[in-house]
């Protein structure tokens, strides 16, 4: 949970970073301009090419193209990792310090989660749908101007883990959202007997449901641990911050909604398209939590 109170008041100031970090109003922009742009360019190229190859794989079924798509995604992930390191180094802060960093980190974790799922389930056809989202997160993250925010009051390993796990949860939920949309589309086509070229190449419905559930499980575990770590961080800052934050409510609501989805999708009459619709709805709450709550309602959190 990123606390936006003036760091000097908290008494838990970060020790690293130059003393000029917030002294000049132009500092973040200038710092971003001075950064090495090789890795972001490499990342964007690798993701774009990977997206093209995944689309081609979906339309032609060529296995070689699919493998190349996966290889380029892996390459993009490595370049993205270094790009993620580059920006906080330039700004002397953590990747999730501002909106740009958070977006980029979501994109990276989404790519990691997707690649893990792809390798585990040996299914490449979903790549064509996931890559655009990864690309959007990455590009928005890297093209957006840097914020001029003071460093967060909280810091340390627990806080970093809290934020990273929360962002991983958002990435996993985003992936389950994409998988659920594919499920709904494919299910609709199968029920209407419109079995075209692309439908044959999509994963079987049961596998899509499993992949979505695996992704939700990753998200649930991450958000549960992340939230617990967040409360530990709050506890450490006791007396300096208000305990109540609307973000708590929406996060707990998300936990409950995804747990309900996980249960309904596996055991009850809701399995199938209904569970997928619920998953799509849950992601709307995730977006709400990330945007409306993060920007306007929460006083203790930033973008995660």
């Amino acid at each position: 949970m990123g606390y936006t109170r003036n760091a000097e008041e908290s008494g838990e100031l970060r020790t690293e970073g130059p003393p000029v970090a917030c002294a000049s109003p132009d500092y973040p922009v200038a710092a971003v301009q001075r950064m090495n742009h090789v890795f972001p360019i490499l990342t964007a190229l690798a993701y774009f090419l990977s997206f093209g190859l995944y689309v081609r794989f979906l339309s032609t079924g060529s296995k070689l193209t699919g493998r190349l798509g996966t290889a380029l995604l892996g390459l993009g992930l490595i370049a993205h990792y270094f790009a993620l390191l580059e920006r906080p180094r330039g700004l002397h802060t953590v990747p999730y310090h501002d909106l740009s960093g958070s977006m980029s980190l979501i994109g990276w974790l989404l790519a990691v989660t997707y690649l893990g799922l792809e390798l585990y389930h040996r299914q490449r056809s979903v790549g064509a749908f996931v890559l655009p989202i990864i690309l959007v997160f990455f590009l928005v993250g890297h093209l957006a101007p840097a914020d001029r925010l003071p460093p967060p009051a909280a810091h340390g390993a627990i806080f970093a883990l809290h934020v990273t796990l929360s962002i991983l949860a958002y990435a996993a939920f985003a992936l389950s959202f994409v998988l659920s949309l594919i499920f709904l589309g494919e299910e609709r086509l199968l029920r209407r007997h419109k079995v075209g070229e692309v439908v044959w190449r999509l994963p079987p419905l049961e596998l899509l449901a499993q992949m979505s559930q695996s992704s939700v499980l990753v998200g649930l575990v991450s958000i549960a641990i992340g939230t617990s770590l967040g409360f530990i961080t709050v506890d450490r800052l006791e007396g300096q911050h208000s305990y109540f934050d609307p973000k708590y409510v929406t996060t707990l609501l998300l936990l409950v909604l995804y747990a309900v989805y996980f249960f309904l999708a596996r055991t009850t009459a809701w399995r199938g398209a209904r569970a997928s619709k619920l998953c799509v709805f849950n992601f709307v709450i995730v977006v709400f939590n990330f945007t409306v709550v993060g920007f306007f309602l929460s006083h203790g959190h930033r973008y995660f």
Partner: protein
């Protein structure tokens, strides 16, 4: 090192002829042994499937010369009149034989375009011939190339991925809903020939449990026994629909046997687990409104037939890609063949030149008796060096340069130019 192929297939011979000319394993072995013993072929391989019987071989002499002998042999071996067999047989030589085999392995020459079984049959025929010592370096290389072509066509094109029969389209759809069918259960309504075909496909895909329901219990038991299934009494819908994920129906009935209320009740009992209903009956066995029930997928004969039709067109569109792979491997094989032949030719030339050198020196030295023994040896050595220089560089280039080998189209012409018949390798 030429290759000859004599055979017949579904395009050249009716089934009455094909069945007479087919080979069992023992017959294939015996035919190969006889062909080699009679000196008609040096290497042999018999490929016999329900749609084709083909004999591949490497003749000691020209492939064109041995073909009539091979046809006569086949006629005698199978006791089929030569005039009947003659109109059905095709003969292919060298690169045409190579191209034919590679097309066969790719599934391009099959009755069912892109069928997967043929590659297994080619592999088996090669394994059998190789184990019995019937193949040599040429056929080994040829069939290894054919297996590579078949594998590449199956992995790099979609020639064999789409189902081409109503039964296989149904099974493929089931896989598209449930994933791998291992561990899933199936129910068969009706025990006719169509059901049997689908059940066989389902069993091949590893369906864990099979239930059979038929008006005639006797016939149901027969089918259940054949596929290790379980019989359920006709009309016991609540029991029958509780477990299976796939239902195949091909019952002769005027009215639909599966109505919406029956399926709705079953879906409630099974916690809405997805159910795939394959209706192969005409008139339809499953009421049309069953398809509206949540998580139920209904496909009838027309729906499946439409998928088969789409797949046929899709497979045909993959032919150029598969043909490209075949052409690539034909060129590769011919290049290898040319390199072996050319290197053999160069070796034969070297031998011939050494002989020529010996007789040349023998004749000339008579007039140069004044030379000392060491001078004579020196002259001979110089001539040897010159000959080696003349032949060594071209030989090395032939071994190393693929493009050069491809340029030399007719090794036989080179042989005729430099070597007499007796000296040909």
């Amino acid at each position: 090192m030429e290759i000859v192929l004599v055979g017949l297939n579904h395009l050249t011979a009716p089934v009455e002829v094909r069945e007479k000319v087919s080979f069992t394993s023992e017959q294939a072995q015996r035919a190969g042994e006889e062909l080699r013993a009679r000196g008609i072929l040096e290497e042999t391989l018999v490929l016999s499937t329900c749609n084709r019987s083909e004999v591949y071989g490497v003749p000691p002499e020209s492939s064109h010369e041995c073909a009539p002998g091979l046809s006569t042999f086949l006629s005698e071996f199978h006791s089929v009149r030569a005039d009947i067999l003659g109109v059905s047989l095709y003969h292919h030589y060298d690169h045409e034989a190579v191209r034919h085999l590679f097309r066969v392995a790719a599934g391009l020459d099959s009755m069912l375009l892109g069928e997967a079984e043929i590659l297994g049959q080619v592999r088996e025929a090669y394994r059998f011939a190789h184990e019995h010592g019937a193949t040599g370096p040429v056929l080994n290389r040829l069939f290894q190339g054919a297996l590579e072509v078949g594998k590449r066509v199956r992995t790099e094109t979609e020639l064999g991925t789409r189902p081409m029969s109503v039964a296989s389209a149904g099974v493929k759809l089931a896989e598209h809903i449930f994933g791998k069918l291992n561990g899933h259960k199936a129910l068969v309504l009706g025990a006719g020939a169509i059901s049997e075909q689908v059940v066989a496909s389902l069993r091949d895909r590893g369906v864990a449990q099979l239930q059979v329901m038929n008006r005639s219990r006797e016939r149901a038991e027969e089918l259940a026994k054949q596929f290790n299934g379980k019989v359920i009494d006709w009309g016991e819908w609540d029991v029958a629909l509780q477990l299976p994920d796939v239902v195949v129906s091909s019952v002769s009935a005027e009215e639909p046997v599966l109505r919406r209320d029956i399926v709705q009740r079953a879906m409630a009992a099974r916690g809405n687990r997805a159910l795939f209903l394959m209706d192969l009956g005409v008139p339809r066995n499953i009421a049309p409104d069953v398809g509206e029930v949540y998580n139920v997928y209904v496909y009838n004969t027309d729906d499946l037939g439409e998928i088969v039709q789409q797949n046929r067109s899709a497979r045909e569109s993959e032919i150029p890609k598969a043909q490209g792979i075949v052409d690539e491997h034909v060129a590769k094989f011919l290049s290898w063949q040319a390199s072996v032949e050319l290197v053999g030719l160069v070796d034969a030339l070297r031998m011939k030149m050494r002989e020529e050198r010996a007789s040349f020196i023998q004749a000339r030295m008579e007039t140069m008796k004044h030379l000392a023994e060491t001078d004579r040896a020196h002259v001979e050595k110089l001539m040897d060096e010159m000959l080696e220089k003349l032949l060594l560089k071209p030989a090395e280039r032939l071994r190393g340069e693929k493009k050069l080998r491809r340029k030399i189209q007719n090794v036989e012409a080179l042989r005729d130019l430099f070597l007499s018949n007796r000296e040909k390798p």
